[in-house]
Symmetry: C2
């Protein structure tokens, strides 16, 4: 089982969690390798040994961030109706960007100011686009199921949600409270289109 060689003296997942925290708080460029290694409780060469260079570490951190702090996205997508789905997403996002004891805002948005055209930037943009696409798919299904009006634009509706969540992330980083964001989520949901007619699926 155990491979030969000196065993790693630290838990890679715990170290990665620490890296997530630093990138989340400081963004990609501002997070220094010395700072990262210190937060991870590890020497710099060990970081390179376990994760590769800074760019690879960032991508690993982003993946971990998504799976540990963006579970609300998948949960929201599983709600039975489009309306519940959208509401759960906004509420989940408002909570995620205002978690007590964690950095305010969203790792993905916090790192907007990475060098343009860099791999880091496009990874973040693609991440947002992928989530948007999942919601667009969900809303297309909702139209098929008669859960949304057939003339509704599922892509635009998804874009609306992602745009709001990006805004939430910026405002949370500015110090906006969870309660204020939840109130904004409520307000935004007032635009959400009602089903075409009550309990009338057209299958």
């Amino acid at each position: 089982m155990a491979r030969p060689g000196r065993p790693r003296a630290f838990d890679t997942d715990e170290a990665l969690d620490a890296a997530v925290e630093v990138f989340w708080r400081r963004g990609f460029t501002n997070a220094g390798l010395t700072e990262l290694a210190a937060a991870m409780g590890v020497n710099k060469p060990s970081v390179y040994g376990a994760f590769g260079d800074k760019a690879q570490l960032f991508q690993a951190a982003l993946r971990r961030y998504v799976e540990r702090n963006m579970g609300y996205v998948t949960e929201a997508l599983q709600k039975p109706t489009a309306l519940e789905c959208a509401r759960a997403f906004l509420i989940g996002n408002a909570h995620a960007v205002t978690m007590p004891g964690r950095p305010a805002g969203c790792l993905s948005v916090q790192a907007v100011a990475t060098p343009e055209g860099s791999n880091e930037y496009s990874v973040l943009a693609r991440n947002r686009a992928a989530i948007q696409e999942r919601f667009a798919d969900r809303f297309r299904r909702a139209i098929d199921e008669g859960d949304l009006p057939p003339d509704e634009d599922p892509g635009e509706l998804a874009a609306f949600l992602i745009t709001l969540s990006s805004g939430f992330a910026v405002r949370a980083a500015d110090g906006t409270t969870r309660e204020a964001l939840l109130a904004l989520a409520d307000r935004a949901m007032a635009t959400f289109p009602a089903p075409p007619s009550e309990e009338n699926n057209r299958d």
Copy 2:
């Protein structure tokens, strides 16, 4: 009139415009002084001579950005009704963050990932908060003028607009088109509360 000493060989306003462009495209941390000076068409010591250090240059650039690229805020605030005011702000913002030939997004949001607690960060956050407060004041007046329902929350309404505009900036930086943002602005305006009753001011 003319002071003694060798005259400055460049136009400080033009140089500042070039600095705005760089900060806008790259954010505070990613914008290097070598890069800034080159874009400004000036040697580094001249930058220090004319603007002070990087932080002061950034603040000067932000001030210029506000007065040259955020005129739509003041214009929107002068609209006769709260509804027109809000709509003009969102449409103006959608245009501003998608100006052809200029960086996508907003300088103020692009620099979110400045070191937390730094002067640069708090200057940006205060800038957003100040704009939000101007809209809150405008909406308070609208309630007095019977232009908004008296039970409406002017601060929350203002926060909603600022949050949307922050989201617009992030999405524009991601490549979202002006048309798509304008559609989102339309959608958001659907939530906007109507006046209490038609053409009925209560003065």
